[in-house]
Amino acid sequence: MTFTSTDLEVEGAAAGGETAGDPAPSSPPASGRRLVRAFLHDRAALACSVYILLIILMALAAPLLVKLSGWGPLEFDQSAVDPNLGGLPLGTAGGVSAEHWFGVEPGNGRDIFARIVYGARVSMTIALLATVLTSVLGVVFGLLAGYFGGRVDMVISRVMEFLMAFPALIFMIAVLSALPAENRQFLLVGVISFFGWPYLARIIRGQTMSLKEREFVESAKASGATSIQIIFKEILPNLSSTIIVMTTLAVPGYVGTEAGLSFLGVGVVPPTPSWGQMIASSVPWYAVDPAYFLFPGAFLFLLVLSFTVLGDRVKKIAESGEGRA
């Protein structure tokens, strides 16, 4: 049996329409095997995962790849640029050649391939760390607010409202520009997560509030489970698909935010390369050396696209599995 994501989507919508108001015992829960099978038949999702895996591999194997290509990310190659043309790369397409696979930076002749590879390291580390931190914060505060309610809920909800009303981008920039430049990567993760967690927490809170009224929580309470046990053993497992979906959907945002902040000059500090920062430094050259802009731009766009499509698909599969119960 072959079904594409759109079939699934229609099936899910139909199930939602017919059985609305009825918890639909007929539609099976999102079992792991079904998820994987639906996923394997979805060519777009598969292609996106392959690209993301490639980038992760590239980031992990950066030192090896750079050895293979022969140029490190911080090495200058003055022989690859033309000093008479203001440092424009020699050769076509920004100096693409057997020696420099993606060409070189105009001006100082640093190898773009090496900088892309090392930039992937920075971008992926920041995006993934930010995702982990945001998820932990979002889940913990969401669970606390939803489960305990009352004063705890009020305090957490007010803080969330406050953070979401904040002009986050400008504020991130203000904070990062005021902070010292050491450990920028970790500061970036901290700042992104600080403003990111309320979006997950809000949803976790809502679901926890409805889950805690269910029978299995009551029976756990009756058999003497502590609040901690109920939260982690009874409620948290039921939130797993929500958490997976929300996290996958959040990753592209973090990749983009990191690149954007680096683009504005408050992100990763040179000479450490990051894709956003490479794009920023290509701005003065884009008219005469478009390749310098094109490589990091394409890599960044494809990465964000892959995460977005993947998140979209995972969401649909999870929804159709749940039958929108």
Partner: protein, 332 residues
């Protein structure tokens, strides 16, 4: 209703106060001494002390904060004696770089940012809502899948990548648009329009993708509601069902995010303005970051927060006007 309004205004004031405090703490605690910065290279300790006293930096934190906040409402005076400088009521201080009042700098640039925001908003509302409607009507067909694919792409492309690509394609390679030049509307409307065209498109692409998805999901959901089924069953023509029963509840949530997005843009489209060299609030903020011009960064942060908070409140009020369900809820 009045109590609701009062509540909202109180909440707004609290948020703005906290934003103020937060920003102030960060600059007070973390950033290098502005007096040293202003003074420059050939500086004596006496001059630095004098500068500190003039800027009020020798005061303890709370008194500095109080001077700043009260400066917003009643103005403040820098220094004392014959050299004193008065800063009138909404006083956001003076730029360390240009020595201009921050408030005037913002007021000068606000029209540019507002033009960017208004044009982009019109574009993305039109494109987003109509694409979302088409997508919902043709759910599951080719048009729907095509639009869905487009929205995913539109959401994913970072606006500076899109901006630079557009500029390269339309200006450098194809020559369809002239190079951006700063001209007022009255002098050369065509040049003026083409200056803003690309920023509008760039901002609208990402936003309209989000609006398309939202519209599509809402319309599809509404069409499954019982009252729509009832309307169909009682024999209303499809057009009437759409107009009277489906569109209004489906489009109400759009109002919410539109208010927030638009308000957010008024505080400056940092990246887009920087890419296209538009002299708006966003570019000013980006420039002052590199120069570490704290009063300007603080002024812009406060302004942006102000717009977002006001936007939130207007949305809440509009919501009660548009959506009868909310009205019933608040009365009960």
């Amino acid at each position: 209703m009045i109590r609701f309004l009062l509540n909202r205004v109180m909440g707004m004031v609290v948020v703005l106060f906290l934003v103020c405090l937060f920003t102030f703490v960060i600059f007070f605690v973390l950033s290098p001494d502005p007096a040293v910065q202003i003074c420059g290279k050939n500086c004596t300790p006496e001059v630095i002390d004098q500068l500190r006293a003039n800027l009020g930096l020798d005061q303890p934190f709370w008194s500095q904060f109080w001077t700043f906040v009260s400066g917003l409402f009643v103005g403040r005076t820098y220094g004392s004696g014959p050299n004193a400088i008065d800063c009138a009521a909404p006083c956001l201080g003076y730029s360390f770089q240009t020595s201009q009042p921050v408030f005037d700098m913002i007021a000068q640039r606000l029209p540019v940012s507002a033009t960017v925001a208004i044009g982009a908003a019109i574009l993305w509302l039109l494109a987003g809502v109509s694409a979302g409607l088409v997508s919902a009507v043709r759910e599951g067909r080719f048009a729907d899948r095509f639009i869905t694919g487009l929205t995913l792409t539109g959401m994913s492309i970072p606006n500076y990548v899109l901006g630079l690509s557009l500029q390269f394609l339309l200006v450098v390679t194809l020559g369809w648009l002239p190079f951006p030049q700063a001209v007022p509307f009255s002098e050369d409307p065509v040049q003026w329009f083409s200056n803003y065209l690309m920023p509008w498109i760039v901002l609208a692409v990402g936003a309209s993708a989000v609006y398309t998805r939202l519209t599509r999901a809402n319309v599809i959901e509404t069409l499954q509601e019982n009252y729509v089924r009832t309307a169909r069953a009682k024999g209303l023509s499809p057009g009437l069902v759409w107009r009277r029963h489906a569109l209004r509840p489906a489009l109400t949530p759009i109002v919410t995010i539109f208010g927030m997005d638009f308000a957010g843009l008024l505080g400056g489209a940092l990246i887009t303005e920087t890419v296209f060299g538009l002299n708006g609030i966003g570019k000013m903020a980006a420039d002052s970051i590199t120069k570490n011009d704290q009063p300007v960064i603080m002024g812009v942060t406060l302004l942006a927060a102000f717009f977002v908070v006001i936007g939130n409140m207007v949305v809440d009020l509009l919501y009660t006007a548009i959506d009868p369900r909310v009205r019933v809820g608040s009365a009960a």
